[in-house]
């Protein structure tokens, strides 16, 4: 009886390893990030205080803004494509059909496979002479597209590949959302003579709002975390058209040994992601009320 009010000392022992680990591998780097931002440091020689130098550099560095707008361009193609395909496939799967498990599992397959595999595979599919896409285009009499070698097509090419890799996850999330919509809503609408399109716009879309929001946020975070795709496929080129924030951070840290500036880029990118997450929380909370 009284036990529930007594203190369980063993609780402290159980949380202690976690708290220690957190302090060393998260707390300390977090604090150190805010020191690094104000210093120039190549790891080998002592740090040099530069005040707001790194931040000033950040705002005037054309490449970081290039990376920022590259990411926005990526999202502009990736998000609508992702939403349309995921919602479409989820709608089709949300019926009595044979082999639903098989279809769901095949759409989901690229989600579990390493991004490295997907990137190497798509690099071949995009190859200008021998790639599957251009072979198909030429077969129907269209000219091939220089997918990865033209600055206009390289980022869209990566956005299409990323959609292919991730869309299965969003199909599953939308399926969960669709199954949670009470069927009497649709029945009532049918009695009122609503068309399939009206039902979709007036019932399905509003009821899926939280899921749509979630997909937006996860895709945005994914876009700002882009690294391995441009690293393997294009190295950020051609003409910096696929340079991503993380690839730029990596280059600053490991090609130029600029730890202070790399940490500042990380800080900037983290603020963007953090803002997106907070906005989503806000939105979902007001939605729930």
């Amino acid at each position: 009886m009284d036990r529930s009010h007594a203190t369980d000392r063993v609780g402290y022992v159980m949380v202690l390893p976690y708290l220690l680990h957190l302090a060393i591998f998260l707390g300390y780097p977090l604090a150190f990030a805010f020191i690094l931002i104000f210093h120039r440091w190549n790891i080998y020689t002592p740090m040099k205080f530069v005040g707001l130098g790194n931040l000033k550099l950040l705002f005037t560095d054309p490449l970081i803004w290039r990376a920022f707008f590259n990411t926005l361009y990526f999202l502009l193609i990736h998000i609508p494509l992702q939403l349309a395909i995921a919602l479409g496939l989820a709608q089709l799967l949300n019926q009595k059909i044979r082999g639903r498990t098989f279809f769901r599992a095949s759409y989901f397959m690229p989600v579990v496979v390493s991004g490295v595999v997907v990137t190497i595979l798509w690099q071949q599919l995009y190859a200008s002479e021998t790639g599957l896409f251009n072979v198909l285009l030429q077969r129907v009499g269209l000219p091939g597209i220089p997918w990865l070698t033209d600055y206009r097509y390289a980022m869209p090419a990566i956005a299409i590949m990323a959609t292919w890799k991730n869309v299965g996850l969003y199909v599953v999330l939308f399926l969960v959302g669709l199954q949670a919509i009470p069927s009497d809503l649709y029945e009532a609408a049918e009695l009122d003579g609503a068309s399939a399109w009206q039902k979709f716009l007036r019932i399905t879309v509003p009821m899926l709002n939280p899921t749509i929001m979630l997909v937006l946020v996860l895709s945005t975070i994914g876009g700002f975390s882009l690294f391995i795709e441009p690293y393997v496929m294009t190295g950020g080129g051609p003409a910096s058209s696929t340079l991503s924030g993380i690839l730029y951070l990596y280059k600053q840290a490991f090609f130029f040994n600029k730890m202070g500036y790399a940490a500042t880029i990380g800080f900037f990118w983290a603020i963007i992601i953090f803002t997106v997450v907070i906005l989503q929380r806000r939105f979902v909370e007001t939605e729930a009320v």
Partner: protein, 270 residues
């Protein structure tokens, strides 16, 4: 009837769109280099040359073993430490419990981009560059796993725990002997997410490992493709990609339902 037929056509076309590239990749990796441009995965001259080339150039089996070693250690550690914290948060009473819970919630929101460079400089200072320690130790606990365990353990009936206490069982005994066998779904979810996360990670290994003998498999294959060792041979790059994909695809075919559930649930809560 035709509408149904159309539905299956679209769904099947979708499935082909996601599966066919993998089939093509497998086929192309088994073809001689000059035939790769073809649209079909078949060839009259099946050859393992591409695979032989990969095995000769990079210690890929060593990479597989490294990945397995690192992923298993991290996963086991995450399960043990996170279940301890989850149990303490769900089932024990002590001052500061809410604080720890809120800390776990808050730390999940910190984007990794913020800490990756300071963490790297820390590895340099520890002398952990080119050591398994850099791959394993920073990943040994997980706030997200703690929240999964806490949530799950809240649903276990208190009477079960009280009965065990009356029998003189300690909290450690309750956790490892009574709770563990009941927590298979939570353990499974944490294991899948943690294992997949570590297995597929490239950026962190790329930063802290330069010695090929210590590289994880995805890092090794990435550098093999990017670094020119593949000598721009398509079949060879695809063969390396197939070897990297195969263990995951086998695991996926076997545990498909659990994998989809776990990954989808992490998406919902993120």
């Amino acid at each position: 009837m035709t509408k149904r037929f159309l539905l299956y056509i679209i769904l099947t076309a979708g499935a082909l769109m996601f599966l066919y590239p993998f089939v093509w990749m497998l086929g192309a990796s088994l073809k001689p280099e000059i035939e790769i441009a073809g649209f079909t995965p078949f060839s009259s001259h099946l050859t393992l040359d591409s695979y032989r080339f990969v095995i000769r150039k990079i210690p890929i089996f060593r990479g597989f073993a490294n990945s397995l070693f690192v992923s298993i250690l991290v996963t086991a550690s995450v399960i043990i430490f996170s279940s301890m914290v989850g149990y303490a948060l769900a089932r024990l009473h002590f001052r500061g419990r809410e604080l720890v819970f809120n800390l776990a919630l808050a730390t999940m929101m910190i984007p990794g981009q913020l800490t990756v460079i300071p963490l790297y400089t820390m590895m340099v200072r520890f002398g952990w560059i080119d050591s398994y320690l850099a791959l394993i130790v920073p990943a040994m606990t997980s706030s997200y796993a703690i929240l999964i365990f806490r949530q799950f353990l809240l649903s276990i009936p208190q009477s079960l725990i009280e009965a065990a206490r009356l029998d003189g069982c300690s909290d450690w005994g309750i956790l490892f002997r009574i709770i563990y066998p009941l927590s298979k779904p939570a353990i499974m979810t944490v294991a899948i997410l943690s294992f997949m996360g570590v297995w597929n990670e490239v950026l962190w290994p790329l930063m802290v490992i330069r010695n090929p003998d210590l590289m994880t498999m995805p890092l090794m294959v990435t550098l093999f493709t990017v670094g020119g060792q593949a000598e721009a041979q398509l079949g060879v790059q695809l063969a390396a990609a197939v070897m990297l994909a195969l263990p995951v695809i086998i695991a996926y075919v076997l545990f498909q339902r659990y994998l989809i559930q776990s990954i989808a649930s992490s998406g919902i809560k993120a």
